[in-house]
């Protein structure tokens, strides 16, 4: 929702999720596999037991897998579901949900998903890209047209082949991907001010396009800073204040994923999760311990422990924790 009146949007994760995330919403997460997953916000969605969420992402890892495992998700549109070396075969809950037929799903490529968000942000119905029209990404649809027709949040077609209007030779076929306009974007950023101006200090991935495409935007941030601080160097900011609905100050809000310049990923916890998530039973224990057993992110972090968090803190020059034991032992 665009709010042009300058006002404080600072609130707790609980309030942000209560107000802006509803059952059945089409949601998207920022970050990439093991970096800047909006974990604190994701935990809160699980605590509030949202259901039938429709999740659309490019390459998503920890938050995505956890939300599926907690039973909050019924539809997936995705290019890659996993945490790279920490779950080599893919996110355990993502795998189980698809192998068990528990979710409707659709596969795209990373660039296709990126263009879908960009199209949504630009307000055009689709964007074209080059690609082979023979792959199963184009030919096999996870969600058939008759089901798509019943779901207003899904475009009628997964994608389409279009002719390049500027090349009459007929050799210029392109793939067109439909715009995405999620109900809610959940983003963990480096800095934000109370009015909603946002500054990312590492790679932006597709966060900027995801925010601009979405109807409502919740941003958790490592640091809540004074608006004048951000406005002294506006070219370093990516998101104007009026596009953001909630600002949730949340140090270590991406743990156990990384936040460049602030902290590294937590290899032991990532590995622990991948183990626990392998079965419904042990996953339940994980959820009880870390999410239902804690009231908010602060309590969650106290379970992780100060020693661990200090070990993960980034060296200011490197942006990560050099020499960190990453074997996950």
């Amino acid at each position: 929702m665009v709010t042009l009146k300058k006002q404080s949007k600072v609130m707790s994760a609980r309030e942000a999720v209560e107000r802006f995330v509803h059952d059945g919403d089409l949601i998207t997460f920022g970050g990439f596999t093991i970096t800047r997953n909006p974990m604190g916000l994701c935990h809160e969605i699980i605590r509030q037991k949202r259901k039938d969420l429709h999740v659309a992402v490019h390459s998503q890892g920890q938050a995505f897998d956890l939300l599926i495992g907690a039973g909050c998700v019924s539809v997936l549109e995705v290019a890659y579901g996993g945490t790279a070396r920490f779950s080599p075969g893919g996110g355990p809950c993502f795998r189980r949900a698809i192998e068990g037929g528990q979710v409707q799903f659709e596969d795209y490529t990373n660039f296709q998903m990126t263009l879908r968000f960009l199209a949504g942000a630009m307000g055009v119905p689709f964007l074209p890209l080059r690609g082979s029209t023979e792959t199963d990404v184009v030919r096999k649809w996870g969600i058939p047209p008759e089901i798509r027709k019943q779901n207003p949040k899904l475009p009628e077609k997964k994608l389409a082949t279009v002719i390049n209007p500027f090349d009459t030779s007929g050799e210029g076929n392109l793939i067109a991907v439909p715009a995405l306009q999620p109900d809610v974007a959940l983003i963990h950023a480096h800095q934000a001010d109370s009015e909603g101006t946002v500054r990312f200090k590492g790679l932006t991935f597709t966060d900027v396009e995801q925010i601009k495409a979405s109807k409502r935007v919740i941003v958790s941030c490592e640091e809540l800073v004074d608006p004048e601080t951000l406005r002294r160097d506006p070219v370093q900011n990516q998101i104007p204040f009026f596009m953001v609905d909630a600002v949730v100050p949340m140090p270590f809000g991406a743990h156990p994923t990384a936040c460049y310049g602030y902290y590294d990923y937590d290899p032991a916890h990532m590995k622990h999760y991948a183990e626990m998530a392998k079965s419904e039973e042990t996953l339940k224990t994980y959820l009880e311990t870390y999410i239902f057993g804690t009231r908010d992110h602060e309590e969650y972090l106290s379970l992780i422990g100060e020693d661990t968090l200090n070990r993960l803190r980034a060296d200011p020059d490197a942006g990560y924790a050099p020499g960190l034991d990453r074997s996950g032992e």
């Binding site: 970050g31 990439f32 596999t33 093991i34 970096t35 390459s59 890892g61 290019a79 890659y80 996993g82 945490t83 790279a84 070396r85 920490f86 779950s87 075969g89 893919g90 996110g91 993502f94 795998r95 698809i98 192998e99 037929g101 596969d107 490529t109 990373n110 660039f111 296709q112 990126t114 890209l129 080059r130 690609g131 082979s132 029209t133 023979e134 792959t135 199963d136 990404v137 030919r139 096999k140 996870g142 050799e171 210029g172 076929n173 590492g202 790679l203 932006t204 991935f205 597709t206 936040c259 460049y260 990923y265 980034a314 020059d317 490197a318 990560y320 050099p322 034991d325 990453r326 074997s327």
Partner: protein
């Protein structure tokens, strides 16, 4: 120095095929090690970049994902996916790009599956999905593929066709820059015949012979052109073990 392992051989065989002044599009895992080794050993002017938006990464430590904060430090530019894929597609830069990809299955024409085993809708095994590999395979000038040499991975027919190789070579010719150039395994390397576009055995690693490799491939394979892969130098092995992956995170 202890004896070289098949995985180390694989990485160094890939590294020596990365050319100086190439732009290397890296996936997660073994391809990053190969790119780091090439840059240290013989291709100092190669540029490593990631779909996540890190361009000309220095990689002081081995990243464990293309989204790892380690890809950012000291890079020329840190941006996002829109810009990164533009480098792949751009007519000025795209022709310099070599994409290094991995997958779960490969067919004789270098088409790849990174999505599932069994029926797509109710798979026996589901994998993470294509990510950016399918895009990179279409946009890059040259494609290198990493595969473990196993019969269940080298198949006549893919369970799911995620990433295009040489399938129907005439199809959409205008839309492609390049196609798969070489497949690197723990037993040897494969290339593609100029006419038929089918895979043939190009080199085999010491300790393997063409017949034993043929038995580990699930389709008819031309082994008549195979030569032994020259051994890597001690110096390159030393780089690999002591500087690139000293924690044995991938190797």
């Amino acid at each position: 120095m202890s004896e070289i392992t098949p995985r180390e051989r694989m990485v160094l065989a890939a590294a020596r095929r990365i050319r100086d002044e190439e732009i290397v599009f890296c996936g997660t895992g073994i391809s990053m090690i190969a790119a780091m080794a090439a840059k240290r050993i013989h291709a100092p002017n190669s540029v490593i970049f990631f779909e996540t938006g890190a361009i000309d990464s220095r990689l002081m430590e081995l990243p464990l994902s293309v989204g790892d904060p380690r890809v950012v430090t000291g890079a020329s530019v840190g941006t996002g996916l829109v810009d990164s894929f533009a480098i792949l597609q751009n007519s000025q830069t795209g022709s310099h790009v070599v994409a290094v990809l991995g997958a779960a299955q490969i067919d004789p024409y270098g088409n790849l599956n990174s999505t599932c085993i069994g029926d797509y809708w109710r798979p026996k095994v589901r994998f993470p999905g294509s990510g950016g590999a399918s895009d990179a395979a279409v946009f890059a000038a040259r494609v290198m593929i990493f595969m473990r040499l196993e019969k269940r991975r080298f198949v006549e027919r893919l369970d799911y066709f995620s990433t295009p190789g040489w399938k129907s070579p005439k199809d959409e010719a205008a839309m492609y820059h390049g196609r798969p150039d070489v497949v690197i395994t723990d037993g040897g390397t494969f290339m593609f015949d100029n006419d038929s576009r089918r895979m043939y055995l190009a080199t085999y690693f010491p300790g393997n012979d063409p017949r034993s490799i043929e038995r580990r491939v699930g389709f008819e394979l031309d082994i008549s052109r195979a030569e032994e892969e020259p051994p890597p130098s001690d110096e390159s092995l030393n780089h690999l073990r002591n500087h690139i992956d000293p924690q044995h995170l991938i190797l």
